[in-house]
Symmetry: C2
């Protein structure tokens, strides 16, 4: 982050017709955007969320109350506009793209690009990381490249604010394994109830993460190895998306626990990603706060949302747009003829 632009933005904030710092975190957001765009007159006019879907071999361990085919069923729901993210994106004026980067089941009928689906399937889900690596290094890198490409394409098309989200039954278990591997916390501190695990299911999730760490522990020395061994295809794509957004110099908004696991891996791979990253919200999943603290980001919203899909990112993106509008659209004390402090 260019500190000169942050200082210029802070100075500009003091000229706007409001008491100093009275817009609170909206000022911090706008100042960061000014540094990202190296401009005091940037616009956030075209927001886009990219939602990556993938399946997880670890579902064989009974880690989710939902059957695995829900991933594919929800992809169809996204394409028909019936999911929560469709509604929130509509309400907030955000474009949505849906990418199949690793769904296990065939998608019903002839669903494909004509229906809005972006088909970039690297594999039909990951393998069960309790017994082997979730992905080969090549698969992980291919999925990352999908995400990086989606971010670069968005910026190339003119998008100026990016968000991302995910769908993948079983993926809170993968995110918990990443959290434990990355932050060093105990599996029991990284695992939460996800989509609504009962006590027995929660125990199976913790056990799955413990066994994964025992199996892969020695090999989890780098973010890329963590990603390949205990991550997921959609997590790899989101990680690549963050890298692509940062290399394209675009602000990028993370969603909940799983999205933030991907963002943390991206920051682990390339620390400068943090300069472009905004933490959209805080989910009640216990691992989410640990990841945000590990990255060093404060979430914008805390609405007890734990749905994924980019839903928290969508609401936060509207706040970020409003922050930008205030920064670039407000009158100054001089231009409006308003008296300053006595």
């Amino acid at each position: 982050m260019n500190p000169d632009w942050v200082r210029l933005a802070e100075a500009r904030q003091l000229e706007l017709t409001k008491p100093p710092r009275s817009l609170g975190r909206l000022e911090e957001i706008a100042n960061r955007c000014a540094a990202i765009f190296e401009s005091l007159s940037f616009r956030l006019a075209w927001p886009r969320i990219v939602l990556f879907a993938g399946d997880h071999g670890v579902c064989a361990e009974g880690v989710s109350p939902y059957p695995q085919e829900v991933t594919a069923q929800m992809v169809l729901n996204f394409l028909r506009g019936g999911a929560a993210i469709n509604c929130l994106a509509r309400a907030c004026g955000i474009e949505l793209q849906v990418v199949d980067v690793g769904v296990a089941s065939p998608l019903a009928g002839e669903i494909g690009e004509a229906d809005g689906l972006i088909s970039r399937r690297i594999a039909c889900g990951t393998r069960n990381f309790c017994s082997e690596a979730a992905m080969s290094r090549a698969e992980a890198e291919a999925a990352m490249a999908v995400g990086t490409g989606m971010a670069q394409q968005a910026v190339g098309e003119g998008c100026d604010l990016l968000g991302f989200g995910e769908m993948g039954i079983g993926n809170t278990t993968a995110a918990a394994a990443i959290t434990a591997a990355l932050t060093g916390c105990a599996p029991s501190e990284a695992v939460g109830r996800g989509t609504g695990a009962d006590e027995a299911c929660l125990s199976r999730k913790i056990s799955a993460v413990e066994r994964a760490l025992a199996l892969h522990g020695g090999a989890l020395a780098s973010p890329l190895e963590i990603l390949a061994r205990v991550g997921g295809l959609e997590i790899a794509a989101m990680c690549g998306f963050c890298l692509g957004a940062a290399s394209s110099r675009s602000p990028v908004v993370t969603d909940g626990f799983i999205a933030t696991a991907a963002a943390a891996l991206a920051v682990g791979i390339e620390p400068r990603v943090k300069d472009y990253l905004f933490a959209g919200h805080l989910s009640p999943e216990p691992g989410h706060r640990r990841l945000l603290e590990w990255i060093g980001l404060e979430p914008l919203l805390d609405l007890q949302m734990r749905l994924g899909e980019g839903t928290g990112a969508a609401l936060a993106m509207k706040i970020i747009q409003a922050a930008a509008e205030a920064f670039t659209g407000m009158a100054t004390f001089a231009s409006a003829g308003v008296s300053g402090q006595k």
Copy 2:
């Protein structure tokens, strides 16, 4: 609030394609709206914020770092679209109305209805409540009627989500006096730095509230008396606005400390107002949390904003609209062919 409609809404939430309760506070918002509209297919399509401006005699005590003429200058800024609330309302697609209910200085030039100003001036500011009542009971009631009328008119025109905000140099001191009188907390616990008071100014604010409570203490037995003696014209109008929104059965979103002081008085006058009231955000002003706790509302946002004008309400209204869109727009497990929990 009709508990039958809350239960119907909760049951509907369980049918939507998401894990139970995974939209967190968005579900609570939508369920409350369903009870307000007594419908599961309500729309929040026309949001409006009404901003009330008024001046304060207590400014004579040196309670603000800004000169009193800033109130009138900011009214002009609102009409020209250059203030923070103009930008946030634009970003969030919210209509804004500006009402002069008690500005002290003449407005520059020929500013009036043709420029978008709604002129309902009851008096040229309040009197200094350190030496006499801020308003007569008749003035307070007239200002309340302005607010009630604005809410009823909005609902009559088709608005389905209301918000309100204020502008008035010196009005955090009035809000602090209301907070101390209503909640029983000490003046020093109700007073904050407002638009940026330094230590000396903060001491003058605390002293002003202490002297006001000593002078009027015995007479502060009812919300109406508190309003008239230590309130403000714009605070009375916002109080009336809440009463009007509730009697018109419209959801209404409060803003920061001063707006919430008005909302608390409205709840004190008519407890059913609470059923229609949403707390938009939490400001760092120490009295704000006390008022929200006194009413019994949890704020939606905490972005360290302390600007007023309806800025916090604007952002919260977009969240509320998104919550409504998810509730009314999402597919069900049955309609989308998505499997439920195992």
